[in-house]
């Protein structure tokens, strides 16, 4: 018991260095991981899909996919996992680490780029490094999907307008018949230059009380 505990703590230190979470936060996330996985070591997509609170979210599927996306692991691989372990879970969560007061300017820039990359990966579903028009249309459709009034045509029109915006702002001297294939990551960064991400895209750890979990579900 003791050996396992020290091994777990040793792992936690490594994870803390790698992802930037504090030990306490890793502990909380581990408990949540255990609860989601049903005490197993890995999580599959079904575990995540069964969370009731997520069911209202229009981009629920994209979020779940993001956890299983290899590009978010920053290890250079491309593809999709079937199941993820705690380390992968933590890596994805590290994109949403709350900023502390001690992050320097370069770290802040790196975090911003990280978050933008996460967003980009979520839209670029075929992993070719570009967000094409079809992919963008899908994004807008999902976002407008709950209101029901805006039909598919309107979503398409909006997506087209957005693409045009990116194209014209990133390549102002575009010739008239140039076929703009897709938004690359640099263009993506550029068009979202004005968007303030630091205060929006992170989660908050409010309650760090001890967890009373019950495993016996009727």
């Amino acid at each position: 018991m003791g050996a396992a505990q020290t091994r777990a703590e040793h792992n936690y230190h490594e994870l803390s260095d790698k992802t930037g979470f504090s030990l306490e936060q890793i502990n909380i996330l581990h408990k949540r991981f255990k609860q989601l996985s049903g005490e197993a070591d890995t999580i599959s997509k079904e575990n995540l899909k069964s969370i009731p609170a997520l069911s209202d979210n229009p981009i629920k599927n994209q979020i779940i996919e993001a956890f299983f996306d290899k590009r978010n692991q920053h290890n250079g691989e491309v593809g999709v996992y079937d199941e993820i372990g705690f380390e992968e879970f933590l890596m994805v969560m590290s994109h949403f680490r709350p900023p502390s007061l001690r992050t320097s300017e370069e770290e802040k820039k790196a975090m911003r780029k990280d978050k933008l990359q996460f967003l980009f990966n979520m839209h670029d579903t075929d992993s070719d490094g570009k967000i094409t028009l079809e992919e963008y249309r899908k994004v807008v459709e999902e976002l407008l999907s709950r209101s029901g009034a805006i039909g598919l045509e309107a979503a398409k029109a909006i997506a087209d307008a957005a693409m045009l915006e990116v194209a014209s702002s990133s390549m102002p001297d575009m010739p008239a018949d140039y076929f703009y294939e897709g938004i690359t990551f640099e263009h993506f960064e550029q068009i979202l230059n004005g968007l303030e991400m630091e205060s929006r895209m992170h989660i908050r750890f409010l309650d760090i009380d001890t967890v009373t979990m019950r495993c016996d579900r009727q």
Partner: protein, 675 residues
């Protein structure tokens, strides 16, 4: 946004005025004679009254003619003046809103206080006293409950219960911290000879501090709202402001009792703690009992729909009065009563009653509050003050400091009210009164006026970076969804156990007893969803499509028929239209909490209503178009399903108005269904 300031200020400043009048009638103004109310009061003591000509027992020696025109002011004086006050305050309110520029900078509460000050000044100069009917009891018993009921009824319960531990922790510990800290600091100040307040002993200082330390940090919320802070922080602060009443009352009782005694023993401290538990648990118990009684009663009211709203008000008022009877925290009991009964009552009563209840709660609260601010101004002028610069300034300073140390913002005032109930034996009562008034007015004015510039400054710092284009709009919304999804993913799971347990208890026992029409929630909801989905899919298949979007989009669609790549440039007007459509139609998350705290409006259901209207339109269209193709029996069955669904519990808001619409649909149906 300025309304948020009001939300914070009103609740506390309410109490102030109440007690102003308490002091007012208790101490300084012995010349007040209470008017006997009711029909027996033709013996007015007002100076400008003549006695009414009475029917004489003996015939007059002189013959008097029949009076053509008589005036009997004392008879109607009390209700008349009351109505005039309310009317005057309401006119002031209307007037403020005409000049929109004023209300941006100065919250309405400040303006009302100013008007009250002016009127008070006028009254003081003509040596007229404010109406004697404004005794503190009247305010405590009649004016405070509507405001508290309003806060309790529209409190967002789900986030509250998920954070109840944090809320109570901050309420109890925060208030204790503040009061003890401020009390001790002020006592230290009193030791300094130069300020001339040495005669205030420790108990009195603690008593005063417990009054002052009533925290109402909802002011912080108005700033937070603009930065779209986490819902949890929001509800913690909101709930805490409501519940520190309990602690304040207990502390106040304890300290005021101790202030009378020459020595304090440890037994008394223990008794004080015991009293705290009695106060809080008693309030809880009374609230729950009356809430359940109200819920149970509404189970049987389906044949007497007109009196349904009455039960809500009567039971909650009873809860308040019974708690007052036992000296228990009546605020807590009425809030708990409102929370308990709301869930069940809104399922049992009809849609009209539901709307009526909400509207009346808001109206009563609005009246009470307007009057209270108004009278605060009036009575401020007419009380006697004792002003000691040092004490007052140090109170302000310490209140700031200790609140700041408690990581909470400074606002003031349940204190104000309580100050006036201080026992007469405390020598420096007037000083306390003045100090409290000063603090309240100071915070109301300073904080109210300063909030907006602060928020704008923060906003300016942020919004300069946001360049508004379509991409930004889309992706910022995406980010919100992602963050909320991730937060749901690693949610506050420690509370799920109790939540599940309560849910089971609720489903098995409570709902059976308290609801008239108890169906299992989920099956109805899923059925409704399925029907909706069918109609929506059917709608997409039909060639009509939904043309309720802006016409320009339709023309754009024509232009871009074969758009596999964007070719043409868009006009800025079209771009703006698209931005508008995006802003209005993208799925909005977690707006419910914010919607509940706008004091002047009912909870914002415009989104729900908008979605509902659109779905209605699509249902109507699909029913009509399919009615010629499908056999009529299936059609009627489908609409009957809808009607049955419309009585379901969970989507009550949507389904409430559904009931009316769908009944109308059903009436319209037979003409279509017969081929």
């Amino acid at each position: 946004m300025g309304r948020m300031c009001i939300l914070c200020l009103r609740y506390r400043v309410v109490w102030c005025a109440l007690f102003l009048l308490l002091c007012f009638s208790g101490g300084e103004c012995e010349t007040q004679t209470t008017q006997p109310s009711g029909p027996t009061s033709s013996q007015g003591v007002k100076p400008f009254h003549n006695e009414d000509p009475k029917p004489q027992a003996f015939p007059d020696p002189e013959k008097t003619n029949l009076p053509v025109f008589t005036m009997d002011y004392p008879r109607i004086q009390v209700p008349f003046e009351f109505t005039l006050w309310v009317l005057l305050a309401s006119f002031a309110k209307i007037g403020f809103h005409i000049y929109h520029k004023i209300t941006i900078w100065i919250p309405e509460s400040c303006l009302l206080i100013c008007i009250g000050l002016i009127v008070g000044g006028i009254m003081h100069s003509v040596k007229e006293e404010p109406p004697a009917v404004l005794s503190p009891d009247v305010f405590f018993i009649y004016m405070l409950p509507p405001i508290v009921l309003d806060s309790g009824y529209f409190m967002p319960t789900r986030p509250f219960f998920e954070n109840v531990g944090t809320v109570l922790w901050y309420a109890v510990v925060g208030t204790l911290w503040n009061s003890v800290g401020i009390g001790l600091s002020l006592y230290a100040i009193c030791q300094i000879e130069a300020f001339g307040v040495q005669d205030i002993n420790l108990q009195e200082n603690l008593l005063f501090a417990s009054i002052i330390s009533a925290v109402d940090p909802v002011a912080a919320l108005s700033v937070f709202e603009d930065i779209s802070v986490n819902e949890q922080i929001y509800i913690v602060i909101f709930g805490e402001g409501l519940f520190n009443d309990v602690v304040t009352v207990a502390l106040y009782n304890m300290f005021s009792f101790m202030a009378d005694m020459p020595t304090v023993e440890s037994v008394d401290v223990f008794l004080g703690v015991a009293r705290f538990f009695v106060v809080s648990l008693g309030g809880l118990l009374i609230g729950v009992v009356f809430g359940i009684a109200a819920a149970f009663t509404t189970r049987f009211t389906h044949n007497a729909r007109q009196i349904e709203p009455l039960f809500v008000f009567m039971y909650s008022y009873l809860a308040y009065l019974v708690a007052e009877l036992f000296g228990i925290s009546s605020v807590l009991s009425i809030i708990i009563c409102a929370i308990t009964m709301k869930y069940y009552v809104e399922e049992n009563v009809s849609q009209r009653s539901c709307t009526t209840i909400r509207h009346v709660v808001k109206v009563l609260a609005s009246i009470s509050e307007t009057l209270i601010f108004f009278f605060l101004g009036v009575v401020t002028i007419t009380t006697e003050h004792e002003w000691n610069w040092a004490y007052i300034i140090f109170t302000l300073v310490f209140a700031f400091i200790w609140r700041g140390l408690g990581i909470l913002w400074f606002e003031g005032a349940v204190c104000f009210a309580l100050v006036f109930t201080l026992p007469e034996t405390i020598n420096r009562r007037k000083l306390f009164v003045t100090a409290s008034i000063a603090i309240i007015i100071f915070t109301v004015v300073v904080q109210g006026i300063s909030i907006r510039p602060i928020v704008e400054y923060i906003n300016i710092r942020r919004s300069n970076k946001d360049k508004y284009n379509i991409n930004t709009e889309i992706h910022s919304r995406t980010m919100e969804h992602i963050v909320s999804g991730i937060e749901d993913l690693c949610g506050q799971w420690s509370h799920y156990y109790w939540k599940d347990k309560f849910k089971k208890f609720n489903d098995r026992i409570l709902r059976r007893i308290l609801l008239r029409d108890n169906r299992a929630e989920s099956s109805i909801v899923s059925l409704y969803k399925k029907l909706e989905l069918q109609s929506a899919i059917g709608l997409l298949d039909t060639p009509m499509g939904d043309l309720s979007a802006a016409p320009s989009i339709v023309s754009l669609h024509d232009e871009m028929k074969e758009a596999s790549r964007p070719k043409k440039k868009f006009k800025t007007a079209d771009v703006r239209k698209m931005q508008n459509i995006l802003a209005k139609n993208m799925y909005k998350i977690r707006q419910k909490t914010m919607a509940y705290t706008n004091k002047y409006k009912l909870p914002d259901e415009s989104d729900t209503r908008e979605i509902l209207i659109r779905r209605h339109a699509s249902i109507r269209r699909s029913l009509r178009t399919t009615s010629f193709r499908d056999p009529p029996s299936r059609n009627i069955a489908k609409s009957q399903n809808i009607i049955r669904c419309s009585r379901a519990a969970t989507w009550r808001q949507l389904l409430r108005s559904d009931e009316e619409v769908l009944v109308a649909l059903l009436h319209a149906l037979p003409s279509h269904s017969v081929p």
